[in-house]
């Protein structure tokens, strides 16, 4: 039900982002979606990739701090009020959103990646509301 997000800690140093993508390229891992959160000192790279488990191992082998986190991948058609409607469900269930970014757009795959304070609770709240979640394998294979 949950999608495994690959998170990587990177220092604000020249070429570090490219180093990460290079490791993934060499291991034939596709990046489906990417979000980079930055602070003064470092960045947090969050990605949905074609093979998160292998991706994490490959990055760790190269000395990166990498981890997997369960996140929700929610179908979200493009249209006025769609996001607001989705957030309403979280609000009613008293869930906090830690962060969110776009998973994919177009060709019927419009969707968001969302990390909330309580994934289980969020999933059941969304199910009740009739919101469709991506199943993980489907998410990893977008664009393939």
């Amino acid at each position: 039900m949950f999608v495994k997000q690959l998170s990587v800690f990177i220092e604000n140093r020249k070429g570090r982002l490219e180093d990460v993508t290079n490791v993934l390229k060499d291991n034939d891992i596709n990046i489906v979606s990417i979000s980079l959160a930055d602070t003064n000192e470092y960045g947090l790279l969050r990605m949905i990739v074609s093979d998160p488990i292998r991706g994490k191992q490959a990055l760790r082998d190269q000395g990166f701090s990498a981890m997997l986190t369960d996140v929700l991948a929610v179908r979200l058609p493009n249209g006025v009020g769609k996001l607001q409607n989705l957030l309403c469900h979280f609000n009613e269930a008293e869930l906090n959103i830690e962060y969110m970014y776009i998973l994919a757009t177009g060709s019927g795959n419009d969707s968001m990646v969302i990390k909330v304070s309580d994934n289980e609770k969020a999933a059941s709240a969304l199910e009740k509301a009739g919101v469709v979640l991506f199943n993980p394998d489907e998410a990893y294979a977008i664009h393939e």
Partner: protein, 432 residues
């Protein structure tokens, strides 16, 4: 002005005779009252009666900071606790502080020496002096305070932390003298300049110490503030500030050797080095009662000269300090050992003990940045959690070191490691 002409201008022969007599009594005191020293002397086959002349000091055992730690807190007292009137403490190499105990007479001798420093800088009873060192366990604040009161000057116990108020009072009180770290004085000078108060300042003298500084800094503060600035040296193990200070000729720091007798040794062979040769400074506290120390190794590198000074004092002079023979850093006047950082990080479950300290001086204020590796164990995908961790490490380090560092998280395995001693410090400050 020379505060104590008898002692400060004594002929070398007289001084050596007096030191010899004081050393003899000191050795007798520690042998009979401090088990630590009795054992050390017995191991070396020395009895108190063997030490009669000042030259005999070379036969005595050394004392190190580790010995103070091993006897923490009161194991080296040579008098009953009831005679101790005050305790000070400074940084130890690990978690435990270095504790020093004083009798009434120890405090008197210390304040007498601080008074000599102030008189040497031409400060007198008509002066109003701000003490801008920290008050508390640190010897800086109270040391200068008692010395200035003993002199009869008006003391403003400002302490550290509120520069605006300090400058306001400097103007309002017509303050004529100040004691603080040299970097803080340069910072104060900048604040005065920014606020356009230069012509309302009556300051004429500054006593600066607790951290290394350069001749260039002295000329800079003298020009910026229209003052004469003097270097004061000391360490809590011996007394506190006021062990040595420079006169108006600024050609080395006169050591008050009637109380605190210096030697310079080669830190490797532990043999004395010749006059004007650089080595490690060692002190024997000739008159101390509470916690007297034989041949305490300061780890400060300097040289000594016994040539007479133009000022008329016969006290020997130490050259400007050349650094340390250990890895101690002085940051904003506070002694910091890298091993303290390591010990503190070990207390934080989420960190590895790998770290790098970067010391710099920005706008005349020392900065400390500690780089800590992020590894899988405490890595999070949420910035909030990483910021929380940064704050936690900063808090732990501030508590351990007594100064606030900035913590920077870095990628794992990016900090240098080696089987032996890893390089843990990059000091970008220039003291030459």
């Amino acid at each position: 002005m020379i505060w104590n002409e008898t002692k400060e201008c004594m002929s070398r022969d007289e001084m050596k005779t007096m030191q010899g007599a004081r050393l003899n009594k000191l050795v007798d005191r520690v042998y009979h009252n401090v088990p630590f020293y009795r054992k050390k002397m017995q191991e070396l086959g020395i009895e108190p009666g063997d030490i009669t002349r000042v030259e005999d000091v070379a036969n005595l055992p050394f004392t190190t900071k580790d010995d103070l730690r091993d006897n923490y807190p009161f194991g080296l007292l040579a008098v009953p606790q009831s005679q101790i009137v005050r305790v000070h403490a400074s940084s130890g190499t690990t978690g435990k502080a270095t504790v020093v105990s004083y009798t009434r007479k120890d405090i008197d001798a210390w304040q007498e020496c601080v008074t000599r420093v102030l008189a040497q800088a031409d400060i007198g009873r008509n002066d109003i002096m701000q003490v801008g060192y920290g008050y508390g366990l640190f010897t800086g604040g109270l040391g200068l305070h008692y010395g200035a009161e003993n002199l009869g000057a008006t003391v403003v116990p400002q302490s550290t932390g509120n520069t605006k108020k300090l400058v306001d009072m400097m103007v309002d009180f017509n303050v004529t003298a100040i004691a603080c770290t040299p970097s803080y004085l340069l910072h104060i000078a900048e604040v005065i300049e920014e606020r356009g108060l230069r012509d309302q300042i009556k300051l004429k003298a500054a006593i600066c110490g607790a951290e290394p500084w350069t001749e260039e800094m002295r000329l800079q503060m003298e020009e910026k503030l229209g003052i004469h600035a003097h270097d004061i040296y000391g360490l809590s193990e011996i007394a506190g500030p006021g062990v040595a200070s420079d006169c108006q000729y600024h050609c080395g720091l006169h050591v008050y050797e009637d109380h605190y007798m210096p030697e310079i040794i080669d830190p490797k062979t532990l043999q004395p080095v010749g006059e004007e040769q650089i080595g490690e400074l060692v002190f024997t506290t000739l008159t101390k009662e509470g916690m007297p120390l034989l041949r305490y190794r300061t780890k400060d590198l300097t040289s000594i000269t016994y040539k007479p000074c133009e000022c008329g004092r016969t006290l020997p002079r130490l050259s400007r300090f050349k650094g340390r023979s250990d890895d101690m850093l002085i940051i904003r006047g506070v002694n910091v050992f890298p091993s303290q950082v390591e010990a503190a990080l070990l207390e934080v479950n989420e960190t590895t003990p790998h770290y790098m300290m970067i010391v710099d001086r920005v706008n005349n204020m020392d900065t400390l940045e500690v780089m800590v590796e992020v590894d899988e164990k405490f890595f999070s995908d949420e910035i909030r959690e990483l910021e929380k961790l940064t704050k936690k490490i900063e808090h732990v380090l501030r508590t351990a070191l007594g100064i606030g560092p900035k913590v920077k998280l870095v990628e794992p395995k990016t900090l240098e490691r080696s089987m032996g001693k890893a390089k843990h410090v990059i000091d970008n400050r220039k003291f030459d």
